[in-house]
Point group: C3
Chain length 424, copies 3
């Protein structure tokens, strides 16, 4: 009996540590989004996008602590609405979803198996990821403070409610909808919120000419954007790898390892497919399409990184990498101006990720996947549209034409990102 | 009995791994300081600050191996002075502080519980953090080699002796002074050493005008500074999270998880408070104050990241975030020229962090906290002042006015950080 | 018996997690190489080197899955040639080298001890490291697609075959050749492939003047190069630390901890030696030599990071740091144009690392080390020379003089890395 006690302690400690380290890797994705977006905008709008990225990460943590976590993982609820319970922020580790979830665990040890605080940490960094998707799409012309207000609503309410429907045990989960680490719950949700914002905001001045021409607006710092992509690639091992939720026995350890491998292979497939597609379409090895290909591969595999073989994961990623290039071209034809391609990467490819699950996972059907996708999109887009609309009425969401011309860095932040470098 | 043997082995391995991974995260903070400081100085002084940062990390490791570790964690000592024992560098893992400390451990398993080498690794990266604080404050006008000499003394002697007083079981520890991960031992110590250097060094040319005006000297690369802040934020999970020193049972795993959450919440509180304070004072969302707010939140929670609830941690961080903005303004009024705000972030907020402990941890009193703070400051400041003074006499600490004007990169390093970018 | 079952499960999970996390750190080195190389080339060639780095990482993963892993760790083979077995890509975790290796493990628990997928993950990121070494040496004048084709052959065949000879249990292993984490198998192999490419490619235009003068071509972004070095330093804890291959008992945990410490000390010794050597030779504290010194220290210790004491590791690193400065100077005298010093860092110092092993590890002899070194060099250089030669005949390997003058970014990638910054 003494030995069993020791094993339970070790098991609990290992699974908690696994959550904390994978959670730290997901937190690191916030830096990835910040660098990616800072590299893909013009230098005059760089300090502002950096400000948005660090502040949104802070807001996400605070709002998820105050409201979001309790909405998403409530002690009780009817599957559509969670029971109100704000105990977490005061009680902290008392509100232990781990205990609720533990009955689902198949493994050697079947009990309460990791710290509730580590669960909160892991879930909290996910909401920040969803919000980071938005900042890129609305870059270079949205008011900083309007964005902040939206971040409060998104991270405290819009994201957590649809998260409850799936991961909190709500009706999408009951229906059999499968979304391992969040191609839908995180990426499509973020992309839908971004799309709503972009539609109300309009395109950047000069992006689309009077005669229908589309003008490329190159990012100012591609090493930074590449660094951001590598950071996201690394962080995704935590994002998908941690979403297995348990590590401490042979079966689960094998599953986590398979998820790491498949996550990597999908990104690799996306890079190769993205660069080859760009080569065929544009005649050049467009670096930004290699970066978008990597991210597309990662988004595509996120709904089901466990079931495919490594070569299957590579192919899923490769399809994502082709898809994202065409999606970016299509968005521009539709005059949906998304400076970093976030809606294409996280939205279009997120949908693909959800819909490819039934091929590899027999628990999923095309009907439940399509339903879950439609529900997440409808809720995230609709609720965001209303929120953006109210913000637009109350305080406005777009900077003045003059501020846009001068750059939002000076107007919003009162400083420049690269005061010594730019050729003015 | 065989099972117990297996559990002891696993427990030892898990706690060692926990130390190594959290230590690697703290090592990563060296990159964070390098990027933060490189982003906040002018381009003409960037290569030199990078050189200082990588060389100080190397010196810290070597000096801590040769002297510091034995001073800080001696086999014996009277509480004020450690017994001399230079066995570590030759014997390596023979000098196992883990065994000394193990009697303090409350948990399932109570024995020698992790590799002494992993303890050395974890402690070694802390001394580098303290030294990194100094490099920012003296940036843009200090001689490179004078800085190196100071780094030798600081990491080999000044930091380890006060570290011994608290973490090595010396008189501050005996008195009941509480400093979980080093708001005092690491951050205040580094800031005090920096202050001593800045006072002997004087302000940068042109920073303070003849009529009392204070001139802003903008940093050359804010994406780099933001990256540095995200790196530090991530690394701090190791800094605070590893300072629990043990992970391998339910109680300790819960503690480590709570430390991760509180560390994150304090940084989040600091960001929001910093940017709102800047908005109120300057009318703009000053990115650098969001970055300083994040770091201030992290420094503030470091003295006690375990006891507060998440919302308490958020508030501690928020107070730190407000404080740092006013501290930076005050330093400039006092003509203490600190290009990156290191003395404000690590010193002023470090003191706040120490003094807020008694609110959450009943083991601490305001008297013992104030005493510990005063002792650390007096020793670190005094010993550093003497050291800087001797260096100044012997080899000088300030570059020539001409070299300062031209930039220390050419003078000290013989190259430029961005040879193709700057508008000259 | 129930307890033993639990311990086996935990042991398996912990060792798998150790592989996955150290593997993620090695993956992170891909970002380090990308940033290092992007910082050390001129701005007009930056986007192309970034493209090469992210695409090579993708190719490495795919080719290693399709061919490399089965060549390097075959189910069977005669020590020189592996038996053909392509089951991995389809079966995934069925092909479990862990089971094959487990009989070598000395420890508390002696059985199949970690997930085969985690082993694949760890080995896969190593092949990417070898390939990353090549991209730096051929920078600024090689055709992008020629490089890609070489990457396919290198990561699918050239690297894995010599890897089989040592780590897969082939004839070099049987002979007693010692190479803990790959000073030879990874670094020398990569450098030999790079050297073959550079010899066929020739120097950059303008690097060597008509009268024998050597012109310095400064890198465009030293903060980026410094970041890359810090990333590599951090990632190397995974590279060497994970190469112990097991963690889960007291002896192995102590070994992993010693490897972490020695890896760090060698890098520290390399930095100090590199900067002092540069100071003595050039009169300036050349930042790039501090960076090369760090990497040289890391390469030097990689063949044997376990046996030395910390002070021994520091000295090994320091010799590496001196050596690399002279090697870089010598390469230039020989008109071997290597823009980032990769051949010196990974080749010359890699050989030193192999040859210093017998001083610390009595299992090694100078004869076996020299034999292993010669075999790895001869195979990697020869096979690469043939491969580069064929590619040169079929599609050419060097861009046109005009494209080289304009910069390969525009010609190969159709975009610029820093469109707003450079002074043209």
């Amino acid at each position: 009996m003494e030995a069993i006690e020791g094993i339970k302690n070790l098991s609990y400690a290992l699974d908690t540590f696994y959550f904390l380290i994978t959670g730290a890797l997901v937190m690191w994705m916030a830096a990835g989004f910040a660098m990616l977006e800072a590299g893909l905008v013009r230098s005059k709008n760089t300090a502002e996008i950096l400000t948005k990225n660090i502040v949104l990460f802070a807001i996400a943590g605070i709002m998820y602590m105050l409201m979001g976590y309790n909405i998403m993982y409530p002690a009780d609820g009817n599957g559509y609405f969670p029971a109100i319970d704000l105990s977490f922020m005061f009680g902290g580790s008392e509100n232990v979803p781990a205990e609720v979830l533990a009955t689902d665990i198949k493994g050697w040890y079947d009990g309460s198996y990791y710290s509730g605080m580590s669960d909160f940490f892991f879930q909290m960094v996910f909401v920040a990821t969803a919000m980071s998707i938005v900042s890129g799409a609305v870059a270079e012309r949205m008011k900083l403070w309007a964005f902040m207000v939206f971040a409060v609503v998104m991270t405290g309410f819009i994201y957590p409610l649809q998260g409850y429907w799936k991961w909190g045990g709500g009706f999408l989960d009951a229906m059999g909808f499968q979304d391992f680490a969040g191609s839908g719950v995180v990426h499509l949700c973020g992309a839908a919120a971004a799309l709503a914002g972009v539609l109300l905001l309009g395109a950047r001045k000069g992006k689309y000419g009077p005669n229908g021409e589309i003008r490329a607006i190159p990012g100012a710092n591609l090493p930074m954007a590449t660094l951001g992509t590598f950071i996201l690639w690394m962080g995704w091992f935590g994002f998908n790898g941690g979403s297995e939720l348990i590590l401490s026995n042979v079966g689960e350890a094998n599953a986590v390892a398979a998820v790491f491998v498949n996550t990597n292979m999908a990104a690799a497939g996306g890079v190769v497919a993205g660069i080859l597609t760009a080569r065929m379409l544009f005649g050049k090895a467009d670096l930004t399409m290699a970066l978008n290909g990597a991210l597309a591969g990662l988004v595509a595999i996120t709904a089901e990184p466990l079931a495919p073989t490594p070569i299957g994961a590579t192919l899923i990623g490769a399809v994502g990498g082709v898809l994202v290039v065409f999606a970016i071209i299509t968005m521009d034809k539709l005059k949906i101006d998304d400076p970093v391609g976030a809606i294409s990467v996280h939205g279009v490819v997120g949908i693909f990720g959800l819909m490819v699950v039934p091929i590899f996972n027999t628990d999923a059907t095309y009907v439940t996947q399509a339903t879950g996708m439609a529900v997440i999109f409808a809720w995230s887009f609709g609720a965001s549209l209303v929120t953006w609309g109210i913000i637009k009425m109350v305080m406005g969401i777009r900077v003045s034409a003059e501020e846009e011309y001068e750059g939002v860095d000076i107007g919003e932040c009162g400083l420049e990102a690269y005061p010594e470098f730019t050729n003015k």
